[in-house]
């Protein structure tokens, strides 16, 4: 079949894809054996290298204009496994590398091995788990085989769950257990769907499946099961119960990585499933359901965020709401309509902007909780003048969530808004505006007392460089809004033109 030959010519830069995976995995193994302070040093050395590899992949992809492919074991699929990098995965690789590096540099103060101790539990576990989250994310973004993606999802779950209960308090253990049960339910149903697809078509490679799939009951049941499983892991509205306690209880750097990246991995697979594996399937009903759930998430998450008294829980519920925006892309970006490209770029940009903005907000909230000793919103009076950089970073992140002009959040929501108006599906537009208002509401609820001029007693003034990390992330969230049109063409690389068209 011409598709096989075309799609699997191992491109030149293929080995970069392998490097992006080998670095963090080797880091995990070395950190466990060397242990103690070495774990932290290994992580802090590998992270900038990882950012470099991710950027190199993006540049190579930009120059070649076609997805990078690398067949593992010298075997092309269907027998072997292929790694594929297209526009969406390259952008997510760079985002993951940057956010994890920022979280790593932020967490040096919390998870440094104390003096006089060769090795302590929390630091060693944190640095190994951080590299494991990063390895799993890279594999999810590059994987080309559905079973390989299942193992990567499990690796991600085993890295993220212990992060939630790293400080061992009872409520964090309950939150981690609920998160683990939801995640296991999700991955076993994903595997069930993959089994049905293998039973029907004899391969699990994404490109080969896309060529062979046609609408039949087995494919509908498989798609339904896989989507349900991945929705449980993405914490979309009806299945979001585990997210707020889990993300609010994790340490600051941990919750930044969890909210910004871990939740996006399963969303990435839903996009991979509906846009790369099942493009030939009529998707109207499925996309409408996903978008309806997304809208419910926006409204429900926003209202609940308004009613929280703790800062970290407010941000966690805001994650539930912002995830809803991502699913509005499904009814708009599918199909060969003129607005589909805008909706696709809007959805992807929302993923990126939420990653950077939410990471900045969680790091800022961590700094506030450390300095004040608590994170009750009611008692945040006067924290603004006391910690200007932190609250400014929090505000910039909030800007992106609300979708106000200078931020990338605005650009993403504007693209989705424009696409929904052109498509005539105005309910999504109304929901987005309502979501923006709700976001404005809960950001104002935090900033109003924070910026009041009363003096506040800080237990420990925050370190300058840690505030800088949060600020850099928030600035990136804003700068992405000024991305040139070439950036949006880059996002289109590897996007399967729907209804039977292949790249």
């Amino acid at each position: 079949m011409h598709v096989t030959a075309l799609a699997f010519a191992a491109t030149a830069g293929g080995f970069l894809l392998v490097l992006a995976i080998v670095l963090p995995v080797a880091g995990i193994l070395l950190s466990l054996v060397l242990g103690g302070r070495h774990a932290e040093r290994i992580a802090l050395v590998l992270m900038p290298a990882g950012v470099g590899v991710a950027i190199a992949i993006a540049v190579l992809l930009w120059r070649s204009g076609k997805p990078l492919v690398y067949g593992l074991g010298g075997l092309p699929p269907p027998l072997g496994i292929a790694l594929r990098a297209d526009g969406f995965s390259a952008v997510m690789l760079v985002t993951a590398a940057m956010v994890i590096s920022a979280a790593g540099f932020f967490a040096r103060a919390n998870f440094g091995t104390p003096q006089g101790v060769t090795e302590a539990r929390a630091p060693l576990a944190f640095w190994i788990l951080l590299q494991a989250v990063w390895a799993a994310l890279n594999i999810v973004f590059l994987g080309g085989d559905l079973f390989n993606l299942y193992v990567a999802l499990e690796l991600l779950t085993f890295a993220a769950v212990p992060l939630v209960c790293l400080d061992g308090r009872p409520e964090t253990l309950a939150a981690a257990l609920r998160y683990l049960l939801f995640a296991l339910f999700g991955s076993v149903f994903y595997l069930l769907g993959a089994a049905l697809l293998y039973g029907a078509y004899g391969t699990l490679d994404i490109v080969l499946l896309a060529a062979r799939i046609h609408a039949e009951p087995a494919v509908w049941v498989a798609a339904g099961l896989m989507t349900a499983g991945l929705l449980a892991k993405t914490a979309l509205f009806p299945l979001h119960l585990w997210l707020p306690p889990a993300h609010a209880n994790a340490p600051a750097a941990g919750s930044a990585v969890l909210s910004a990246l871990v939740v996006k991995a399963s969303f990435f697979l839903i996009v991979r499933l509906w846009f790369n594996v099942l493009p030939t399937l009529p998707h109207e009903t499925a996309s409408a359901i996903l978008a309806a759930l997304g809208s419910a998430a926006i409204l429900f998450g926003g209202v609940l965020a308004l009613r929280q008294e703790r800062l970290k829980l407010l941000i966690a519920y805001s994650t539930v709401a912002q995830i809803g925006y991502l699913f509005l892309m499904f009814p708009l970006a599918a199909g060969a309509h003129p607005w589909a490209a805008d909706a696709w770029s809007g959805g992807l940009l929302q993923t990126l902007s939420h990653a950077f903005a939410k990471a900045a907000m969680f790091l800022a909230a961590g700094l506030i909780a450390e300095s004040l000793g608590h994170d009750r919103i009611a008692d945040l009076r006067g924290v603004g003048p006391a910690m200007p950089m932190t609250v400014f970073a929090f505000g910039l992140g909030g800007l992106s969530l609300m979708g106000l002009p200078p931020s990338s959040g605005f650009a993403a929501k504007w693209l989705l808004l424009k696409a929904s108006v052109e498509a005539g599906q105005w309910p999504w537009a109304v929901v987005m505006l309502a979501g923006g208002l709700l976001a404005g509401g809960y950001i104002y609820r935090v900033l109003a007392p924070a910026l009041s001029s009363e003096g506040v007693h800080l237990k420990a003034p925050p370190q300058r460089n840690r505030e800088g990390v949060a600020l850099v992330l928030a600035l990136v969230a804003v700068l992405l809004g000024f991305a040139p049109p070439a950036f949006f063409e880059f996002l289109q690389i590897g996007r399967v033109a729907p209804i039977g068209g292949l790249p």
């Binding site: 309950a174 069930l192 089994a195 293998y198």
Partner: protein, 113 residues
């Protein structure tokens, strides 16, 4: 009623049964048990697909069988992590329940790192 078809029906029944146990049983230990049941049902599904894919001199298609072996080991490590969490939760609180108590967030006074 060949063996693969029968095993397929068992697999489907096990998934349904395990899902029921996962949803209704409040105890985390029973939920882990139900999760293992769903897992074995899914692996049975891979098993019958492998058996029906017998060709080229093999009694069954080796690829799904290899996936099942990997799956069993991953499911075991998932159960191990879940059991360790349940036991630690029991050690800390004396109770084993998933119901979030009042302050689901970090405590009001403890500094949260």
């Amino acid at each position: 009623m060949s063996a693969p078809t029968l095993a397929g029906l068992i697999g489907a029944a096990l998934v349904g049964l395990g899902l029921y146990g996962l949803i209704t049983n409040p105890q985390p230990l029973r939920k882990i048990l139900a999760f293992n049941l769903i897992g074995s049902g899914v692996f049975l599904l891979f098993g019958i697909i492998a058996r029906k894919g017998a060709a080229a001199g093999f009694v069954a298609d080796p690829v799904p069988q290899a996936m099942v072996i990997t799956g069993i080991v991953v499911a075991f490590s998932a159960s191990a992590l879940a059991i360790a969490l349940v036991l630690r939760l029991f050690q800390e609180t004396g109770r084993v329940t998933l119901r979030p108590d009042a302050s689901a967030g970090p405590p009001a006074n403890g500094a949260d790192t």
